[in-house]
């Protein structure tokens, strides 16, 4: 089944509908109805007639809904507990004050150093 497109309105023409006009320069025009055929012969511009497909696409009619639906997907960030550590524990760590954190780090480093020294002594002895 071959569908034609109306030369004036841009509508689809199903078989058995419409009419065909062959101009003197052997160009062929398809029309869906006598209305679009009449307007064509009156030399009207389909861009200026509000119900044609050309006009509607030019003036962005009936496209706005489709555009709003076509929004891109954004990645959503959310927090959850990891195995072994509850979410509250992570949150507490994060909210510690920098001084407290630095102190904790220092003590940890000293502890590790002491361990290392004692370890070295043990191996040397």
């Amino acid at each position: 089944m071959k569908l034609e497109i109306c030369s004036f309105s841009g509508f689809k023409i199903y078989p058995g509908h419409g009419s065909l006009f062959v101009r003197g320069d052997s160009r062929i025009f398809h029309f869906i109805s006598s209305k679009s055929e009449s307007l064509f012969h009156q030399a009207k511009n389909p861009r200026k007639i509000s119900w044609t497909v050309v006009y509607r696409s030019l003036h962005r009619k009936g496209i706005s809904e489709e555009v709003s639906k076509k929004r891109t997907r954004r990645t959503v960030k959310y927090n959850r507990a990891i195995i072994g550590v509850s979410w509250e524990a992570i949150q507490n760590r994060r909210n510690e004050k920098p001084e407290v954190r630095a102190a904790a780090r220092k003590s940890a480093v000293e502890k590790a150093k002491a361990l290392k020294k004692s370890g070295v002594k043990k191996t040397s002895a």
Partner: protein
């Protein structure tokens, strides 16, 4: 809708340019695409003097037969759509129903094929 006194343009190279229908060879008031009519030549291409073939060239006032190939009145196709052309046009034919001209210069209607005017269809540059 070609009837007596209708004027048609001739789209072959027979030499005639404009003809007038003087008889519809069909038991009807008017003729359509694929019908034969009798025409009188109203306007013909000027004949070059001294040429040997000038004897059988078409002159103004000649009475010939013609075949209608395009009409302004719309024709209904079997699929329901209508086809309409910008002008009324014909080609001249002889008594054996063969075209007089050797070439056809513009498009013809597809109805001719259904009415078995094979020679005319094969000469035409485009069939619509």
């Amino acid at each position: 809708m070609i009837q007596m006194k209708s004027r048609l343009s001739v789209i072959d190279n027979s030499g005639a340019l404009i003809v007038e229908c003087i008889k519809v060879l069909r038991n009807a008031k008017w003729a359509s695409v694929g019908d034969e009519i009798v025409v009188s030549v109203k306007n013909a291409r000027p004949i070059a003097d001294g040429s040997a073939i000038s004897a059988n060239r078409i002159k103004k006032g000649d009475v010939r037969r013609a075949l209608i190939v395009r009409t302004k009145k719309e024709i209904r196709r079997p699929d329901g759509r209508f086809v309409r052309f910008d002008d009324n046009a014909c080609v001249l034919i002889n008594s054996q129903k063969q075209p007089i001209g050797s070439r056809i210069l513009s498009l013809v209607s597809r109805e001719l094929r259904e009415k078995n005017w094979i020679k005319v269809v094969s000469l035409a540059p485009k069939v619509v």
